[in-house]
Symmetry: C2
Subunit: 221 residues, 2 copies
DNA sequence: CGCATCGTTGAGGTTGGTCAATCCCTGTGG
DNA sequence: CCACAGGGATTGACCAACCTCAACGATGCG
């Protein structure tokens, strides 16, 4: 999850200037947005919908490195090419900034650069969290961690029984958690049978025992 | 691996100013440097030796998120606390910058901030690489990837038969690759038996067939 | 209604983990 | 010089978590 509402770093004047160079694009579910190795000509900001970032191995194995939602931002590459592919999970609306214009703006607006730096630091921290998950957590702990993270992003997170929206498919959850679809499904079923969560529909999960879920996520059972 | 020689971003005058607030510290092998959750009072730059960054689960499982070497830099946290622990792998010499002074310098020197931003971007890209490794690669591919990465860092990488220096223990390689010590050892043995590498001593590996190793690392066999 | 897609469940296999014995290397002391 | 101890590395036997393959169920759309 890269940072939300980066535009808040801009003054009204800067924002107006930026608006001139911006175009908007719509993507249907599963539509490819950028591909690993493409020239990084654009920076993108998500207006609505969910987008996945992923890396792939030649034989088709996929690792999703993050899901982006409303307000998230991507395409600030270390090199001239994108290092990851991006694909729409749901239908999505994106703001497109030509890279050159954006770079110019960056030079004129140190606040913006600082804000992007903050986002990058948050991203590094999140990546390390995810490395711990991928390298050392069990399937059960991974799924619980995922649900906790998704609950934290949802509006009703503060409620006694948070409800979680899962716009992505089981396969995509699996590719994010380094598991198979079947293992994700089985794990969710067992969490349901234990009364930790309730699965209303594939895309809608209620957390019945948030503390238990959190404990499982942290490997504290 | 966070960025090398960040000091190159500094002008002579800025460097001189920085030098005033810098102190140097020595650490013995396995000595703790900072601990996850500690107040982030210092930024550190490695002068010599190897340092590991890691996150741990309450039951002792460890995921090493990176090894740092000469010139690498760490301690730019997104929050007030360190999100990872750091420990000396070999005996090491570090430069210590008090955070407040460093922040002040940062405000005065946009070049430095830009440089740190670049480092953070590189770090994000490296993290994503490692997520692919942890989430989707086999033990064999992980070990091969690790050897390739270590070879790329070594001086004699350009030689026809690159030699690799491994200052860290097998356990540490395992904690970096999301495996066990035993699996790392077995995998190295099988690569040796196939004539891909030669293991001179635990800390010294020669790559006999670099292309093969690279293919294995990328899952292209 | 029929089809397609996604999700769930089951049976069995494989990779990598666990536990334990042995090896190797280094350092120490007799 | 050798014996010994100790830590890391290697190897082996066994096991379990997760994957694979396959069947079945649910949901949504034309």
């Amino acid at each position: 999850m890269q940072g939300r509402s980066f535009c808040s770093a801009l003054s009204g004047r800067e924002f107006a200037r930026l608006a001139v160079i911006v175009t908007s694009r719509s993507y249907g579910a599963r539509q490819m947005i950028v591909q690993e190795g493409d020239q990084a000509e654009f920076l993108l900001n998500i207006v609505s919908g969910t987008v996945k970032l992923y890396r792939a191995l030649p034989d088709g194995r996929v690792q999703i490195v993050g899901f982006l939602g409303e307000g998230d931002f991507f395409g600030v590459p270390a090199t001239r090419c994108y290092a990851v592919s991006a694909e729409a999970v749901t239908s999505a609306q994106l703001c497109v900034f030509p890279r050159r214009s954006f770079d110019r703006l960056l030079n004129e607006c140190p606040t913006l650069e600082r804000r992007l730096f903050e986002l990058a630091k948050t991203e590094v921290a999140a990546s390390r969290d995810h490395m711990l998950l991928l390298g050392r957590k069990t399937a059960r702990e991974r799924v619980a961690s995922f649900l906790v993270a998704m609950a934290d992003k949802t509006q009703c997170a503060r409620a006694t029984s948070p409800c979680i929206n899962l716009p992505m498919a089981r396969t995509e959850i699996a590719d994010y958690l380094g598991l198979t679809m079947e293992t994700v499904s089985r794990t969710l079923t067992s969490l349901r049978n234990e009364g930790v969560v309730a699965v209303q529909s594939p895309g809608h999960v209620d957390v019945l025992r948030p503390d238990t879920l959190r404990h499982i996520a942290n490997g504290e059972e």
